[in-house]
């Protein structure tokens, strides 16, 4: 049973598909279907493409309703469920805050810059009527960045499974899902990135089903006066999440895993750990001071 590895670029990151399959042709066919599905989702929901569903909805903000399809509706409903379950911390309209934060220049935006943007962060102003969607205030923006990649991981895994793969893994820049364990029954070993030491793994976790997602303060950040500000922003204050260096969660779906890590980061140390405990999912969290809380079984030394 050969392991075939495919690397590809999508969603501004390096991604890979691993497939255990004797036939190289079949593995290649499955992997290309999975990669095509990732490309489809990127094209459909990227805010960088003017013809994407998200861009069309954003362009009509404060104006007319936009007709959307079933997949978009269900994703919006999922975003709504996350908003409800996180007490409003997970807000798919918080993307406008990026207009104030420029992670290439080390400064924290002033309150006057954030306030007008915070007025546009309002999930309750997203109106869904039947199959039509509208953003209630002009200037509002929907941003699927908080869950689009995780959805793409889940869809790619499903495509692999439905194509016939029995042992495969899809990894989009650290958010991954598996289809079955490795052919001999042993789990895939997934390395968790060290949040402060580039290129190093903090731990390796065994994964034989489901998905793993990680949120960290190291992906995009600025350091001002020794304090790190990262790209995960609180929709209520416009300021950076605080309390964790990174959170990794294992769930049956990458969507759920990714939402769990994002919300944990936003809740901060105390409430975040409470949130992770209440979810009941295995997790590994690196606290702000570097301490590690490990609720995974069978983690080994970095492989």
């Amino acid at each position: 049973m050969a392991l075939h590895r495919y690397r590809f670029r999508a969603m501004a990151a390096e991604n890979e598909v691993h497939v255990h399959e004797p036939s190289a042709d079949r593995a290649a066919a499955w992997a290309s279907r999975a990669m095509a599905e990732v490309a489809r989702i990127e094209a459909k929901y990227s805010r960088y493409r003017p013809d994407s569903v998200v861009s069309r909805i954003n362009a009509a903000a404060g104006g007319a309703f936009v007709e959307v399809d079933a997949e978009t509706l269900e994703l919006l409903r999922y975003a709504g469920a996350c908003h409800a379950q996180s007490g409003g911390l997970f807000d798919a309209t918080s993307g406008v805050l990026r207009r104030a934060w420029h992670f290439d220049s080390p400064r924290v935006p002033a309150r006057e810059e954030l306030e007008p943007l915070l007025a546009l962060v309002d999930w309750h102003a997203v109106e869904i009527e039947g199959s039509r969607v509208r953003l209630g205030k002009p200037g509002m923006e929907l941003d699927f960045g908080g869950f689009g990649k995780e959805y793409a991981v889940d869809r790619a895994a499903r495509v692999l499974a439905e194509s016939g793969a029995r042992s495969a893994l899809v990894n989009l820049a650290g958010d991954l899902a598996v289809v079955g364990a490795q052919p001999d029954g042993s789990p895939w070993r997934v390395g968790v990135r060290h949040p402060r030491k580039a290129g190093m793994a903090l731990a390796s976790i065994p994964v034989s089903s489901g998905a793993v997602a990680t949120s960290g303060d190291y992906e995009r950040f600025v350091e001002v006066d020794g304090v790190r500000h990262c790209h995960i922003l609180d929709p209520r204050t416009g300021l950076s999440a605080r309390g964790f260096q990174s959170v990794t969660v294992h769930a049956p779906s990458c969507l759920v895993a990714g939402s769990a890590t994002t919300v944990a980061m936003l809740k901060g140390r105390e409430e975040g750990l409470e949130w992770l405990g209440a979810l009941g999912l295995p997790y590994l969290a690196v606290l702000g001071d570097g301490a590690i809380v490990n609720r995974f079984e069978g983690t080994g030394n970095p492989a």
Partner: protein, 383 residues
């Protein structure tokens, strides 16, 4: 992964919302070669003072290694035994009269089906038996199913044969055989990611004993002192066609599914029937769904159906209501509760058959209107 046992609270809400999307959110169970379900259902039925409840019908279904498929069911019913019925016009108009006491009887029945997949082709064999004191039936069938075009199109061909023996509790010498050959051809077509349609044609060719040993007709004529009495007399063969079309369409925005089934039936006894059932399955939340439905049925009478014996007495004659011209309307409501470890379905329905409900209005005037209520409870455990 303890969390997949019974996710509730925040995780449960997120999981349920995620599962509404077409993703693989549930981990394929490691080493799960056998996937299926077992269950039981009970039917309660009330018609004009007659109440009946069946014992649980047991059923099961499993797919093994994605190659073998098995299905089976068993029932041990207590039925009201056949009660002799007489259609008599002693009071001027023909009417039904029960002439004997009802007898309670047991029916044992079981069926099983096994199929094996060979790539795009699946071959199956089935067998069924049903035994009562006065009726025995054995049947077997073969079916071939072939997928085309990434399972967008599926063709099905089937052949079956049933051997019945009809007896009678009022005539112990009766042991009459009947054999029926059945043929089926069908096609299922995916129309879009949210719609599909299936259409199938079934032909049955039967020969043997069709008379109902418990039905008689007693007719008085104004110019004759003595009435005429005839037992049920039907032809010794029956050829029938049934054409069934089913349509399903999901509406994601409304979270509902439209289901529509139409069947046209025709046989060489002169019966023509239409059946139309339309239902709407509404997903209320991630656990509950509700399905209201309305079924309309209309049939023409068999050529030899008559509630009074014609003069001169014909070769074939039956006053059995099931061969009369009538129509029926049956609304029903089903609720389904889906939990991780069990699925509970409950349904209630009302059946109203009457001559006035026949399409066109002119049913057999002697038809005795039927009003019945039924309830079904079914519990299924997936594994």
């Amino acid at each position: 992964m303890a969390a997949t046992e019974k996710p509730d609270g925040a995780l449960g809400a997120l999981m349920r919302a995620a599962l509404a999307l077409p993703i693989l959110a549930l981990a394929p169970r490691a080493g799960a070669a056998v996937v299926g379900e077992v269950g039981a259902s009970v039917l309660g039925y009330k018609e004009r003072g007659l109440m009946k409840a069946t014992e649980p019908i047991l059923f099961g279904h499993a797919v093994i290694d994605d190659v073998w498929e098995v299905e089976a069911s068993a029932v041990g019913d207590i039925l009201t035994g056949a009660s002799p019925q007489l259609v008599t016009n002693v009071n001027g108009q023909p009417m039904q009269v029960l002439t004997g006491a009802s007898v309670y009887e047991r029916r044992h029945a079981g069926d099983a089906k096994v199929g094996r997949r060979f790539g795009e082709l699946t071959l199956s064999a089935s067998a069924a038996v049903s035994n009562e004191h006065d009726y025995h039936s054995k049947a077997g069938g073969l079916e071939a199913r072939r997928d085309f075009n990434d399972k967008n199109t599926t063709l099905t061909l089937g052949y079956g044969r049933a051997n019945d023996h009809v007896g009678s509790s009022i005539d112990p010498n009766l042991d009459a055989p009947r054999t029926t050959d059945q043929y089926l051809a069908g096609v299922t077509q995916v129309l879009s990611p949210v719609a599909l349609v299936q259409s199938s044609l079934a032909y049955a060719n039967g020969r043997g004993w069709y008379n109902d040993p418990y039905k008689f007709t007693l007719t008085f004529y104004p110019d004759q002192p003595l009435p005429s009495l005839l037992p049920d007399l039907r032809p010794d063969h029956r050829r029938s066609w049934a054409w069934l079309t089913r349509y399903r369409r999901h509406f994601a925005a409304q979270r509902g599914t439209l289901q529509a089934d139409y069947r046209y039936f025709q046989d060489d006894w002169g019966v023509r029937a239409h059946t139309l059932e339309v239902a709407w399955d509404q997903q209320l939340d991630e656990r509950w769904s509700l399905r209201p439905a309305l079924r309309y049925y209309t049939q023409s009478a068999a050529d030899f159906y008559s509630p009074v014996i014609p003069r001169p007495a014909p070769r074939f004659q039956s006053s059995d209501q099931r061969l009369a011209a009538f129509g029926g309307l049956s609304p029903s409501l089903r609720a389904t509760l889906r939990l991780d470890s069990v699925i509970v379905e409950g349904a209630v329905g009302y059946v109203h058959d009457a001559s006035s409900l026949r399409l066109g209005g002119s049913g057999t005037s002697a038809f005795e209107t039927l009003r019945a209520v039924y309830g079904i409870l079914s519990v299924t455990y997936p594994f």
